[in-house]
Amino acid sequence: MSQQVIVEVSGLEKTYKKESFEVQVLQGIDLEIHSGEYVALMGPSGSGKSTLLNLLAGIDKPTAGKIVVGGSDMSKLSDSKLARWRHRHIGFIFQFYNLLPVLTAFENVELPLTLTRLSKAKRRQKVETALQVVGLADRMDHYPRQLSGGQEQRVAIARSIVTDPALLLADEPTGDLDSESAGEILDLLQQLNEDFGKTIVMVTHDPGAARRAKRLVRLEKGLLVGAEAA
């Protein structure tokens, strides 16, 4: 494992306001993730796992504290710079895949590349490579409705890696899948970590999934209660 710190979280707090109530979801989180790590975030519902992941992805703003990812202090980025930063550095894998139903597997994977200046040929090459990595090169012209849940999630993973981001964030990537498909997705994530050196942070409820990671971080009521080798 490389010792270069890719994610540095310090004193991170997040409070949501709901009408007159304030809910403190994260309470002073300090965390470091090194390049090439595969970290599983575990904890009961409402412990703040997904909130932490969203903050790392730059799709939510912390109430207090600091998040530095790949050397960028995210609290200092404007909305448009943050969008550009997400595009360059983050690959996000959702629990419910979130493919666009009107686009084919190929077009869904190509979507992040349409924000670049790459030529059409270059885009095609990258999309085909990503789909080959996830084992779906033969399904590139299929629409999401023509794919199984496991295949949809593999397309979503291809979409998340097609821009070659430094950090992959996965929010319960096997939460909506049967055990066989879940196993395939976990194999794929492990392959991405071990063979391609991707740094992965995965939120999961499943202890079996968490065991695939190299490090397990536990959260409870917004507090980091333990970090251990998986």
Binding site: D79, A83, R84, R86, F92, N98, L100, V102
Partner: protein, 382 residues
């Protein structure tokens, strides 16, 4: 981006079809009404150097025929003729048998309307026969009339039937609507009515258009204090005021058009808002992938603009087709509309209105979509 916009448009085909149909229908009606109005306003074939004199109160009031002599003496007036609307019924009330019928003065008609081209022999035959009439070429062809044919016009305003013999056929290729009327001797009606000596309208031919204002002023002043005061105006103004007897048609048509466009605007805006609401989660995904707010705005707004433009194209194309068909069909019962045609200006206006509907309908959903909270958006159930 373009692919995504197009696919989103086709995502809910029923909704898209109904929205396109609504916009298309609105612009179809608007384009068609515009063509009707333009045709009515332009079908008069008006001349800049003619002045129409009529009763100051209304066209339904008539003037003494004694005015004719004095009108001839006004400076810059080269000719004066009389036209009296007869009305009546030819054969039956079916629209194809309706055409304008005027009592005229054969000796002066062609001096004041030199654009009506008729052979000299036919003109003389018309002048010589008190029960003769001349008809426009288009009308004669449509009715299958030939020289010497006798027709009967049953009176309605005037309590008498006219038996008329076709003595001439005139042409006016520059204003085909004018070829769909007939002229007969006004003296024929006068005599049958025991010579009441009344006139509907005097038509003055001036030596130059620049003298119109002076002649109008002079003529109106001449009869200002008489029992039958007059209103003098250009032929074009007369044609418009004649149309306005049916009400302010332009205002009426514009109001109808505006009401339709506003209704459709609400429908389209509602549809676009629904479409944007349905896709909150997808917008959140796009934002997570790195799409900027402006790009999301463009996606939603472009879809809305596309609906507006496609609707406009469908509406304008449909109206263009119908205009041609309606112009042909109107030849019989409403000659003025037979000159109806889609103009580039009218089609351009439809496109502009379609774009405006698309823009106004899409701007708020686009603005809202760009400002969604990504985390909240991702929680929305698809």
């Amino acid at each position: 981006m373009l692919k995504l916009i197009w696919r989103n448009l086709l995502r809910n085909k029923t909704r898209t079809f109904l929205t396109l149909a609504s916009v298309g229908l609105a612009l179809f009606i608007l384009t068609f009404l515009g063509a009707v109005l333009d045709a009515m306003e332009s079908a008069q074939g008006s001349s800049d150097s003619r002045v129409v004199v009529r009763h100051a109160v209304s066209l339904t009031f008539q003037l003494p025929e004694a005015y004719e002599k004095r009108l001839k003496t006004v400076d810059h007036v080269e000719g004066v003729t009389i036209l009296n609307w007869f009305g009546g019924t030819y054969k039956d009330q079916r629209p194809e048998n309706f055409f304008p019928r005027f009592g005229a003065e054969p000796e002066t008609l062609f001096d004041v309307f030199p654009e009506y081209r008729v052979g000299e022999e036919q003109q003389r035959a018309f002048e010589a026969d008190r029960s003769g009439f001349i008809a426009g070429k288009s009308l004669a062809e449509k009715q299958g009339w030939e020289l010497g044919d006798v027709i009967t016009i049953k009176g309605d305003i005037y309590p008498l039937d006219l038996e008329l013999t076709l003595r001439g056929i005139f042409e006016q290729p520059d204003a085909l609507a004018q070829e769909k009327q007939i002229f007969f001797h006004r003296r024929y009606v006068e005599e049958a009515m025991s010579n009441p000596g009344i006139v509907g309208t005097y038509w003055l031919k001036l030596d130059s258009p620049e003298h119109v204002p002076a002649v109008v002023k002079t003529v109106e002043a001449m009869y200002e204090s008489s029992a039958a005061p007059v209103r003098a105006e250009t032929e074009e103004a007369f044609a418009l005021s004649f149309l306005e007897m049916m009400g302010n048609i332009r205002l009426l048509f514009s109001s109808i058009g505006l009401a339709i466009v506003i209704s459709i605007l609400f429908i389209t805006a509602n549809t676009m808002a629904m479409a944007a609401r349905d896709r909150v989660r997808e917008v959140a995904v796009l934002r997570t992938l790195g799409f900027q707010r402006g790009q999301v705005t463009t996606l939603v707004l472009a879809e809305s603009l596309l609906v507006g433009v496609l609707g406009a194209v469908i509406g304008a194309a449909g109206a263009s087709g119908l205009i041609g068909f309606a112009a042909k069909a109107a030849e019989g019962f409403f000659p003025a509309l037979s000159a109806m045609q889609p103009t580039p200006g009218m089609l351009g206006l439809s496109l502009f209105i379609g774009l405006s509907i698309g823009f106004v309908s899409g701007v708020f959903p686009a603005w809202s979509a760009a400002r969604i909270d990504i985390v909240e958006g991702l929680r929305k159930v698809a």
